[in-house]
């Protein structure tokens, strides 16, 4: 049985639908290394396909290159087919757990926050994932951008009740 604390916890995390990953399994810490391996592959693709290049992002927003549209479009198609197959075939995780999907609820933040992130994306040339890969690739000044992004997230949490949703 879930305790009240756990339920409150889940509710707090559900404010942000994509970050609820409840699991009943208790694994030792090194089980998490498999996610690090996926991260390494992702980081390499980021750099090698130049998706995290400030220059490529500028090209994309100026419609001067197909590259980024091709990457995102292909990723969405492959992702959508995968999700469809997982649902259709009832595929389970490697630990035998059911794979669950949460529906996203629309709120006005999708629009206001979306536009705001768009502004930031065009300035910094990076979304949150690429920031970490840029730092890893040796551009140390990106640590400032990451710290500022954390500050932005914190400020959002602080002002959350006053913002339209």
């Amino acid at each position: 049985m879930a305790t009240q604390q756990e339920l409150d916890d889940l509710k707090a995390r559900e404010l942000d639908a994509m970050c609820v990953n409840e699991s009943e399994l208790k694994h030792p810490w090194y089980y998490n290394l498999k996610y690090a391996v996926v991260g390494v592959v992702f980081g390499i693709v980021f750099i090698k396909a130049e998706i995290i290049s400030w220059f490529r992002i500028q090209e994309m927003f100026r419609f001067q290159s197909f590259h980024m549209y091709g990457v995102i479009g292909t990723a969405v198609i492959v992702g959508a087919i995968s999700v469809f197959l997982i649902k259709k075939l009832g595929i389970k995780t490697i630990h035998g757990e059911k794979i669950t999907f949460a529906d996203k609820e629309f709120n006005k933040g999708n629009i206001y926050g979306g536009l705001m992130f768009g502004f930031g994306w065009a300035i910094t040339g990076a979304c949150p994932g690429p920031l970490f890969a840029q730092l890893g690739s040796g551009v140390l000044s990106i640590s400032i951008v990451i710290l500022s992004a954390i500050a932005g997230t914190w400020t959002y949490g602080w002002l959350r009740d006053k913002l339209p949703h």
Partner: protein
């Protein structure tokens, strides 16, 4: 090796990124998303009694391993799989950027804009501090970023994610074409 060190075409990159969605789901029912990390960092380090940050962030710890991996991947690609050639971009962009004195294409970001010294100039402050702040605030308000909304959300056919993705693009197009030129001229 040749194949690995040269820039990869869009279809290879798109295929691998798309496959990250089922990989995370099958490895442990994890939904692809990165900006939540920024929230977990706040929850872990400075919750400050704010409701939005009061939750058991340790349950999301896989996400820290995931970004840790991304950083390591960035390091491996930059230091061991690098062809050493500057990035090839549209000549029109090269021409435009030259008017703002951006001529160094050796790194993945223009090092003439992103460096510790320029942090104390108005332009550098806007590019790094204001830009980063907008990314952090905007992604959380929108409930996700390019990975959570544009890739995971669209893969799961969520229409709010489509709205968010369109807004990301509109925001970016307005900024890059109509506002950024003034910032770069500072």
């Amino acid at each position: 090796m040749e194949l690995l060190t040269h820039p990869w075409p869009w279809y290879t990159a798109g295929l691998i990124i798309g496959l990250i969605v089922p990989a995370l789901l099958i490895l442990g029912n994890k939904h692809f998303g990165i900006s939540s990390n920024l929230r977990h960092i706040c929850a872990a380090c400075f919750p400050a009694d704010i409701k939005f940050f009061k939750y058991d962030w340790k349950k999301e710890i896989w996400n820290f391993y995931f970004v840790g991996g991304i950083m390591l991947g960035g390091f491996i690609a930059a230091f061991y799989l690098n062809s050493g050639d500057p990035i090839q971009v549209n000549p029109k962009l090269v021409e435009e950027l030259a008017t703002y004195n951006i001529t160094d294409f050796s790194q993945i970001v223009p090092v003439q804009l992103f460096n510790f010294e320029s942090l104390f100039t108005l332009k550098g402050f806007i590019m790094m501090v204001v830009g980063g702040f907008l990314v952090g605030f905007g992604t959380r308000w929108a409930g996700g970023c390019t990975s959570g909304h544009a890739i995971m959300g669209l893969s799961n056919l969520q229409w709010p994610s489509l709205v968010a993705t369109i807004c990301f693009m509109i925001g970016g197009i307005i900024m890059a074409n109509f506002i950024l030129p003034y910032i770069l001229n500072l």
